[in-house]
């Protein structure tokens, strides 16, 4: 939860900046009152950028990184609420994927995961000996008949109105039944603190956002279709990060999906390009469609090195 602390201290830091900015601008003696006796002034001035874009100088004694911040979840977002009126859907065009790995990177960044870990996998698939291999990115399929939701003993994973399969990390007991129930190996587990160790540099780069998994040790997580983005009508980070436009994301109710460059009719895309869902015969009704790896944009090349994850 270190990144939470960093966000919080960041906010306090900005708050301090605003206050000092206001103080400096109005020229009132509040500054003195705020900073009096308790902390002796060092006399060393530090330049800060105020939210208005002005450079202000404050005494270095005012800048106290708060080290005692309570362990709070990332947001007060109700994880059981979907975005009203939406039915999110994804289409993955296998003919465009060349295992660039940008979706994975964007995913781990978006979800504050260590670099080698993400909620999306890129699997090397080969349907039979003679058929051509291809790369298949696999996020969570957010099934409409989700086996993981069926087996959860405490309703810690559930179907939202917008089609997303959500997880309540405050309720999950860590039995991992959902992980063995998922036929697509979409779920990952927070095995321990060290698997999520983030270095200080990356923590600074990360921005606060809402509605994303809080990486509670001993609980299950997975791809969440970036709900904070979805609520604002933004695309998930894997979609925008892909250099080849592999991912289309959209709303089934509007019958449109977009990969950032082009916006197309979902029904037409699936019809014209022979879209299908992976392991349809299991009856899980995924919300992620695939377009077959036909007429490849890139020749298939093996991964350069044994990938770390």
């Amino acid at each position: 939860m270190r990144y939470v602390e960093s966000n919080e201290s960041r906010r306090k830091f900005i708050k301090a900046g605003i206050i000092t900015g206001v103080v400096a601008a109005t020229g009132l003696g509040v500054f003195e009152a705020l900073s009096d006796d308790k902390i002796p002034k060092t006399g060393e001035k530090i330049k800060l950028l105020s939210p208005e874009g002005k450079i202000v100088e404050v005494d270095s004694s005012l800048i106290n990184p708060n080290t005692n911040i309570p362990d709070i979840p990332l947001s007060s977002h109700n994880v059981r609420e979907g975005v009203p009126g939406k039915k999110f859907v994804m289409v993955i065009d296998l003919s465009k994927c060349k295992n660039a790995g940008k979706c994975r990177k964007a995913c781990s960044k978006m979800h504050y995961l260590p670099e080698e870990r993400s909620f999306i996998k890129i699997d090397r698939m080969q349907d039979s000996e003679k058929t051509a291999p291809y790369w298949m990115p696999t996020p969570c399929f957010h099934c409409d008949n989700p086996p993981c939701v069926k087996v959860c003993p405490v309703s810690a994973t559930f179907k939202l109105t917008d089609g997303i399969v959500g997880i309540d990390n405050e309720r999950c007991i860590g039995c991992r039944f959902c992980m063995v129930a998922c036929p697509y190996s979409a779920r990952v587990f927070n095995w321990g603190e060290e698997m999520y160790a983030l270095d200080a540099e990356r923590q600074k780069q990360m921005k606060g956002h809402e509605g994303c998994s809080s990486h509670k040790v001993g609980t299950v997580e997975k791809c969440d279709f970036c709900p904070s983005h979805a609520a604002k009508g933004k695309l998930p980070d894997c979609v925008t990060a892909c250099p080849n436009g592999v991912f289309y994301f959209g709303d089934e109710n509007e019958d449109t999906v977009t990969n950032g460059d082009e916006t197309v009719r979902l029904s037409a895309l699936i019809r014209d390009k022979a879209g299908y869902r992976y392991l349809e015969e299991l009856g899980t009704k995924p919300r992620v469609y695939y377009l077959p790896p036909a007429n490849r944009q890139f020749p298939f090349t093996e991964a350069k090195e044994e990938k770390k994850n």
């Binding site: 063995v180 190996s185 040790v217 001993g218 994850n309």
Partner: protein
């Protein structure tokens, strides 16, 4: 006022041994202090259990990262150990109920042993399943947020019910014996006597009390059979309700139940052999008991063989993609040595040895039951782990270390600790309770207790 005086004053009649025969019975069967070997045994078990406890504190501190389980092998030996415990606990119902209801007379000296195994095993099954949880402190969520649609909740319900009924099946027929302990153990400390007295629930040995016990036991015996089938069938459903290769089978319920009866039977044989030798119980646990239990074990092994054939041969006949890969991994792949050792020594060899009368003598039978027990533990490992290494989406792009599963020392320590803990519980119960129901043996031998009972209990 002494304790006895208090009792006499309150009008309680104390059952006393009627004659020399009864005295002999009490001398043989009342709980005895640990001998040196007994103390070494307890020390040994305690050491293992405490190591396991230490490993568990490490797991609590660092999370499940101390295990070798990862995103793909998300269930490991904790789960297979849990299945093993649930399996072996089925023996209670086998001896107390199935044999009782089929009027098998020779089962009397074995009832308490099997109930002791059942209660200890089911206790540790519950403990080990909490150990497996990533968030054990949220165990209460199961009761607050429980979803009846989840097989885990079915398991919680049926296992806790089974635990209660098993405990009653152990406790009710103990009442007369607890009263005997209360009145006949010489040189007992006062507090121990008090505990026996409380536990004996003021047993007086009246006709009415015997009648109540008799009737309750019959009801419980009928109740425990569906529950026993239930606990292991539901446990098998934890696997069979998923799509996984090797688990997606309608055969799983009876397959698990038959294997459970088999390992439970072997457990009773092993325990009765050890106790007979240690406490010199040859008079009570005779060659005939071994022969009969041997026959029972061979019957149960044959049933298990039948379900194994269904499970492996039919799947192997079709060799459906992932199912086939999983099966080939068991038959000829990395799990083949373990698989064949388990199948041959845990099932085939016992059948061959035990069909012969000589094989059912105590020593060979004891060795064969140890094979069955060890084989059963590894069999459950083979049911859980190889399947998880064969998901539908191939593992070729996940880290090498995640493509195998070999438990860490912490997992082994916790697992061995739980096994040692269960054995400790068995040992403790044997230490404080008459291992063979004294009053039932007395009944059978026609020895009149002080308050004569005209009822026959079997």
């Amino acid at each position: 006022m002494t304790y006895k005086e208090t009792l006499l004053k309150s009008g309680v009649e104390i059952p006393k041994p009627a004659d020399e025969k009864m005295k002999g019975l009490l001398k043989d069967l009342l709980p005895k202090n640990f001998s040196l070997s007994g103390k070494i045994w307890v020390g040994f078990l305690l050491a293992i259990a405490l190591t396991g406890l230490y490993a568990y504190t490490l797991q609590l501190r660092h999370g499940l990262v101390v295990t070798a389980m990862r995103d793909f092998t998300s269930w490991g030996i904790y789960i297979s150990n849990f299945v093993f415990f649930v399996a072996i606990s089925l023996v209670g119902s086998l001896v107390s109920a199935v044999l009782k209801l089929s009027n098998v007379q020779w089962r009397t000296p074995l009832t308490r042993l099997s109930e002791i195994i059942a209660v200890s095993a089911i206790t540790f099954a519950s403990i080990i399943i909490i150990v497996d949880m990533g968030r054990p402190e949220r165990f209460w969520h199961l009761f607050v947020y429980g979803r009846i649609q989840s097989p885990i909740i079915w398991d919680v319900i049926v296992i806790s019910t089974y635990f209660v009924i098993s405990l009653l099946l152990l406790y009710l027929p103990l009442l007369p014996d607890l009263a005997l302990c209360r009145d006949n153990i010489s040189g007992m400390k006062k507090w121990k006597k008090k505990i026996y007295n409380i536990l004996a629930l003021n047993w007086q040995g009246t006709h009415k009390q015997y009648r109540i016990i008799n009737r309750s036991m019959k009801i419980l015996a009928v109740l425990i059979i569906p529950l026993a089938l239930g606990i292991h069938t539901v446990t098998s459903w934890l696997f069979a309700t998923t799509f996984r290769a090797g688990w997606d089978s309608t055969n799983f319920g009876p397959y698990f139940v038959s294997g459970a009866f088999m390992v439970g039977c072997a457990g009773v044989i092993a325990l009765m052999y050890i106790l007979r030798n240690h406490y010199k119980l040859d008079k009570y646990i005779t060659q005939r008991h071994f022969d009969n239990m041997g026959r029972l074990l061979v019957l149960l092994s044959l049933i298990y063989l039948y379900f194994n054939i269904n499970e492996y041969l039919i799947t192997g006949y079709k060799m459906k993609t992932v199912e086939g890969e999983h099966l080939m991994d068991l038959f000829t792949g990395s799990y083949a040595p373990m698989f064949w050792l388990v199948q041959i020594f845990g099932m085939i060899v016992p059948i061959i040895v035990l069909v012969f009368k000589k094989g059912r003598k105590p020593v060979p039978l004891f060795i064969v039951s140890l094979f069955v027990i060890v084989g059963a533990w590894f069999k459950r490992f083979l049911i859980v782990s190889p399947t998880l290494l064969h998901p539908f989406i191939p593992l070729n792009t996940v880290p090498q270390a995640w493509q195998h599963y070999f438990p860490t020392w912490q997992e082994w320590a916790i697992t061995c600790g739980s096994l040692a803990g269960a054995l400790l519980m068995v040992t403790f119960l044997i230490r404080v309770l008459p291992i063979i129901p004294i009053w039932e043996v007395a009944e059978e031998e026609g020895i009149q207790m002080q308050i004569p009972s005209k009822h026959h209990f079997n």
